[in-house]
Amino acid sequence: MTMRHPPLSDAALGIWPAYRRDVYGILVVFAASIAGYFMFPDSLALLTRIVSIALLVLSLDLVVGFCGVATLGHAALYGIGAYAAGIVCLRAGITDPFLLVTIGAGAGAGAGLVMGAVLLRTHGLPQLVLSIAFVQLVQEGANKASAYTGGSDGLAGMMPAPIFGMFAFDLWGRSAYLFAIFLLVVVLAILAVVARSPFAMLCRGAKEDPVRVEALGVSIRPVLLRMYAISGAIAGVGGALGMLATQVVGLDGVSFELSANSLVMLALGGVGSLYGALGGTVAFMMVEHMVAAINPFHWMTVIGGLMIGVVLVAPRGLAGGLDDLQRRMFGRNSETRR
């Protein structure tokens, strides 16, 4: 079709202009992850855990950053994904890592639908309280159902098969980390498409003004519920990855604490930005790792200080702060000016 008018957006110019920045972004993430493999060969377990939690924070960004849901219970979806993959691995004898991740994603999506159906009945403070209640209930449920979950001892003894039958989840964690990078890249690619879809625009609209979206002729709840399911699936992938990498699933995976920490990571990185969510997770967990090694009792103080610093200097998180810095250094341009 010939265009008889100036393009309305970059996306109107074609697939490459629309997704160019996402492709570059994913390549940078991929390169950095591979660099981590060679630079920190002794810390691959930590790096894998960072990727696993990063998937949780990315998934949290979908409901907080895109839909404006207030939640302090998002780890429920992560933990349910981990438990589902773990239980299936132990009891049903399914050991293929790809299949286990798929099961984790499915369980997370289902749990996301339930959690969304509960949380989307309200908003603001009541929503936040409901989300805490939800994660506490899930945790208590996991604690009581010890026949399946191992209760407070957790679930152990899973023996996932080697990836493609060749690369075992060994003590050094090489396979696990490379598998984690693979999952991260796939999830980022999917999210890049989702984030530029009409559906995501509606979610962003619903976050800003639900009345306007309804006046556009779109019911909000089904839209937000779908986003909750997508978010749950990604959290479930993160949980299943955690299970595969450590071969342990514990109650801390469905905790309020993990939920709250993931929200802090997201705020640190920048709400509403996928790369912000990644950066926030890496920054938080690196600081946690280093400071906890020096002083295991006061690492939270440092995180607190970091948080206050970010809020004061870059209220939109690390990603927003970098945005502002770039604009200040390279001048303003009318398309991106806020």
Binding site: R4, P6, P7, S197, P198, D209, E214, A215, G217, S334
Partner: protein
């Protein structure tokens, strides 16, 4: 003439206070009707009843032969009953083009697609460009709504409404808050609304009402006291009394 939109005997009370009492209005395709009335007359309640924010206690609302009395806002919009807002409700971070494209995609049934590129539908883009360009928003359509002038934002509201291709359009004070120098732009846009569209405008601005409307309805204390030609409205005794109280009689005598 058959009515495309029929509000029949609508009543709404809040507690003991009846805010709309037995209000009836009929609209044919191409109608240009203005609803006026003093503050507190129940105009906002009427708008909310018509758009589906409130459900009437009694009466029926019929759009193109379908009873929509109990349908919600979304169902009414998809059937062609569209409103603009008195205070603009737009997404500050999106562009006018984004808003209009989103509306067109909704009309086409593609607004909730996940595996599609927003802005990648060239038919929707072309139509959005035509609508925005005709409203004189050619230069502003790629800027964020938060950055453009308020008068332009009002035009974006109109552009969204047009993108719905509605049967009935409800304009809630389309020129409210606009600098007087920009009002003519809004008026020109209103003049160019599709001729088959039934339009109900709610406004205080009598200059605007008199230029736009072919028919004026007056709501006073929840009741419709007048529904007729603009030329007759100022002569109507009930309307004069409502607006001017007993001074109305005094001025007629003078």
């Amino acid at each position: 003439m058959s009515a495309i939109f029929d509000v029949a005997g609508v009543t709404k009370s809040f507690g003991g206070l009846t805010v709309n009492r037995d209000v009836s209005m009929r609209f044919a395709a191409g109608d240009r009707v203005a609803l006026i009335g003093p503050n507190g007359a129940g105009k906002t309640t009427f708008v909310n009843l018509v758009t589906g924010q409130l459900v009437p206690d009694a009466g029926r609302i019929v759009l193109a032969g379908d009873d929509i009395t109990r349908l919600d806002t979304v169902a009414r919009v998809t059937r062609g009953l569209v409103r603009t807002f008195q205070v603009t409700r737009l997404f500050a971070d999106m562009t006018p083009a984004d808003h209009v494209v989103m509306t067109i995609l909704r009309r086409m049934g593609n607004a909730t697609r996940i595996l599609a590129r927003f802005g990648g539908d060239s038919a929707a883009n072309d139509e959005a460009y035509e609508i925005l360009d005709a409203l004189g928003l050619g230069d502003a359509m790629r800027r964020k709504v938060g950055e453009i002038a308020y008068g332009q934002q009002r035009l974006v509201e109109l552009a969204i409404a047009l993108a719905h291709r509605p049967k009935v359009l409800l304009l809630d004070e389309p020129a409210a808050g606009v600098a007087s120098s920009d009002v003519p732009r809004i008026e020109r846009a209103l003049e160019r609304l599709p001729p088959t569209l039934a339009v109900l405008m709610i406004d205080h601005d009598m200059d605007l009402v008199m230029r736009f409307a072919k028919r004026v309805a007056v709501l006073v204390a929840g009741e419709l006291v007048f529904d007729g030609a603009p030329a007759d409205v100022a002569r109507d005794a009930k309307v004069r009394e409502a607006y001017l109280g007993s001074y109305g009689h005094a001025s007629r005598d003078a």
